[in-house]
């Protein structure tokens, strides 16, 4: 009797052992799968650093692109990127935040609001190159902005608009209702509630969304190629009031330009090995920039969320 019992217990233990083994197998599989991602990231950085670091010097940032790889730099590219980002931020932040405030605080629940909501989630799934086609047809030719910093900035602004809107809405939604009720009880109007309380309190979340949006925009290549940015630019956009005749304040907006991703694309697609090193160096600069922005956003969110106690 006891012998059969212990035999059956042994059988049971065997079954459990087999199943536990599957647990261990799967856990190893999971770790391996994650290693694929992490190792790729590591290999990417290793490749960029070994190829790119020898080319990184002060001159690399202060020289224009050149036909000789060893003398080429990214001056026009990084200046172009910064100016395009400026236009993007100036358009996307106010419009995105305002749109999010409307949807979260003002909008009534009706079909029109539903359309806007579905539309925003749909836009987030549109491939970036389609925004480039929109810009090519609309900004470049219909509005006549040409292949300029303004066209590129507006295109990227539309591209990151859903990111800014979603982040702002989440930030506003996280603010407890009693803050609004308290403000209304003191006689505040709706706009006063929004501008004095909700926007300042939601600032960490809004800022995080804006930074993540801009870090996405600065790395975008496809839409800017589509509007026809040039790949070889050996001059800077005109400074306001400089030159002869003096440039107007807004002349730089309509200047031809290049940006860092396009410079990288151009250097990568040349057969000459020396240009590949330039591409690696420029990639390193770009990736440090975007990941730095992402890290700032994550840190900001973590830091500020910790301090909030409603």
């Amino acid at each position: 009797m006891s012998a059969t019992l212990s035999k059956r217990a042994e059988e049971l233990r065997g079954i459990i052992r087999v199943h536990k083994r599957w647990d261990a197998v799967f856990a190893t599989l999971g770790l391996l799968a994650m290693m694929v991602g992490v190792l790729t990231l590591a290999a990417l950085f290793a490749a960029m650093i070994t190829d790119g670091v020898p080319r990184l010097s002060a001159e690399f940032f202060t020289e224009f692109p050149s036909r000789r790889a060893s003398q080429a730099g990214i001056l026009s590219a990084w200046v172009g990127s910064m100016l395009v980002m400026l236009v993007t931020a100036l358009f996307a932040v106010p419009v995105g935040v305002a749109g999010a405030i409307y949807l979260e605080e003002y909008a009534k629940k009706n079909w029109f609001t539903d359309i806007i909501e579905i539309n925003i989630s749909n836009l987030a799934g549109v491939p970036s190159i389609v925004y480039g086609l929109l810009a090519l047809g609309l900004f470049v030719y219909t509005f006549g902005f040409g292949q300029s910093i303004l066209s590129a900035g507006l295109t990227l602004a539309l591209l990151i608009l859903p990111i800014v809107i979603v982040a702002t809405r989440e930030a506003l939604r996280a603010i407890p209702q009693h803050v609004r009720e308290g403000a209304y009880a003191c006689g505040a109007s709706q706009w006063q509630v929004v501008s004095h309380h909700l926007v300042p309190y939601g600032m960490p979340g809004i800022l995080t969304g804006v930074i993540i949006g801009l870090s996405r925009a600065i790395g975008e290549t496809a839409p800017i190629i589509t509007i026809g940015a040039l790949t070889f630019i050996a001059f800077l956009p005109p400074m306001p009031f400089s030159g002869d005749p003096p440039a107007g304040i807004f002349d730089w907006l309509f200047s031809p330009f290049t940006v860092m991703p396009i410079q990288i694309f151009n250097w990568t697609s040349r057969p000459d090995q020396a240009f590949h090193q330039n591409a690696a160096a420029a990639s390193l600069v770009l990736v440090v920039l975007t990941l730095g922005m992402n890290a700032t956003a994550i840190w900001l969110r973590y830091r500020l969320r910790k301090n909030i106690k409603w």
Binding site: H19, K20, D23, F26, A27, G30, A33, M34, V36, G37, T40, L41, A43, L44, A47, D51, G96, A98, G99, A100, Y102, Y106, A107, I116, N119, L123, G125, V126, P127, I129, V130, L133, L134, L136, G137, L138, L161, I165, S189, W191, G219, E220, T221, A222, I225, T226, G228, T231, P261, F265, T268, S269, H276, A279, A280, S283, L286, T290, L291, N294
Partner: protein, 322 residues
């Protein structure tokens, strides 16, 4: 009496007049405030509508230029021709050639991203401790933060030479290495969303399964995954629509020659890479070559819209309510 009443009247009328004036002022400021609030609301509404204008703009531009294109090229030829040579004298416009490139590259990418993404999601949600998850999730999300042009550089100059060591006949431009890198880039999209869906499955379901003697793996595969299936499917769909719309990796590493093949070892052009190729040259505005990129863009847009709608429908239909 008369005197008092007159003085009383006087002393009464002044405050009432004052009060009335004050009330009128209140009413005025209130009306003013209401007007201002109304104006602000209109401005905010306009900002919210910018996204709608964007969609309308996209559809308008794509449809307008595509209509011009289809007035030259019959839709039937566009869908059935097996050559894509829009810039040659003997022009053919068979979108199927570009679609083949898109399908091949997406298939390679998804063959990497879906299994790995799912395994990672299950691991992070059901096996990993709190600390591992907190470290690994942001680390993996870095993958989707790297600009795609840099992945293109990586695919062309690192992965392709690596693959050529294993398979020496591989051409310098090929869909395989671009697809692999693209798949790794898409992993976080699949894993993050799937993991969120799995974590939303209530603890009581897992506890029930453990109480029946199931192991972690059994619980994960037989209880958690089926319960989170709609979310996981939506994550796959997002991955697919990313893969279909990805541009720069393919433009850099897969070559830009149109090639009607499903063999990932060959170079091929995708819809997106073709748009880039045309945009890099300078085609005159209004020429047929210029219009082809809008027709290609419309095809791409319809393709991703189709996947997005399926994803939306899946989330709606199979949303489990606990």
């Amino acid at each position: 009496m008369a005197i008092t009443s007159s003085t009383a009247g006087a002393s009464l009328t002044t405050p009432t007049a004052k009060g009335a004036a004050k009330l009128a002022e209140y009413a005025r400021t209130k009306a003013q405030r209401k007007r201002r609030e109304r104006a602000i609301e209109m401005v905010l509404l306009f900002a919210a509508c910018v996204s709608v204008f964007t969609t309308v703009g996209i559809v308008y531009v794509l449809v307008k230029e595509s209509l011009a294109f289809f007035s030259h090229v019959p839709v039937w030829d566009f869908l059935t021709d097996t050559q894509w040579t829009p810039l040659f004298d003997d022009a053919h416009f068979g979108i199927i050639v570009l679609l083949a490139g898109t399908v091949t590259s997406s298939a390679v990418a998804l063959a990497i991203a879906i299994p790995l993404g799912t395994i990672i999601a299950i691991y992070l949600s059901e096996f990993a401790g709190h600390k591992t998850r907190e470290i690994m999730k942001p680390l993996l999300e870095l993958l989707s933060g790297v600009p795609t042009i840099i992945f293109g550089y990586f695919a062309l100059l690192f992965v392709t030479p690596l693959l050529q060591k294993i398979y020496p006949d591989l051409p310098g431009f090929n869909v395989l290495s671009a697809g692999i890198v693209m798949g790794i880039m898409i992993i976080p999209y699949v894993s993050s969303l799937s993991e969120d869906a799995m974590r939303a499955v209530p603890m009581s379901l897992r506890e029930g399964s453990y109480a029946m003697g199931a192991t972690r793996f059994q619980t994960a595969v037989k209880v958690v995954v089926p319960a989170a299936l709609s979310g996981i499917a939506a994550a796959y769909i997002l991955g697919i629509s990313r893969a279909v719309g990805e541009t720069m990796i393919l433009a850099v590493a897969a070559g830009m020659q149109p090639n009607l093949t499903l063999n990932p070892l060959e170079p091929a052009a995708t819809i997106t890479a073709y748009i880039v190729q045309v945009a890099l040259g300078d085609l005159p505005h209004g020429s047929i070559g210029y219009q082809t990129i809008f027709a290609a863009g419309l095809t791409l847009m319809l393709l991703t819209l189709f996947f997005n709608l399926i994803g939306y429908w899946l989330r709606r239909k199979y949303r489990e309510a606990y």
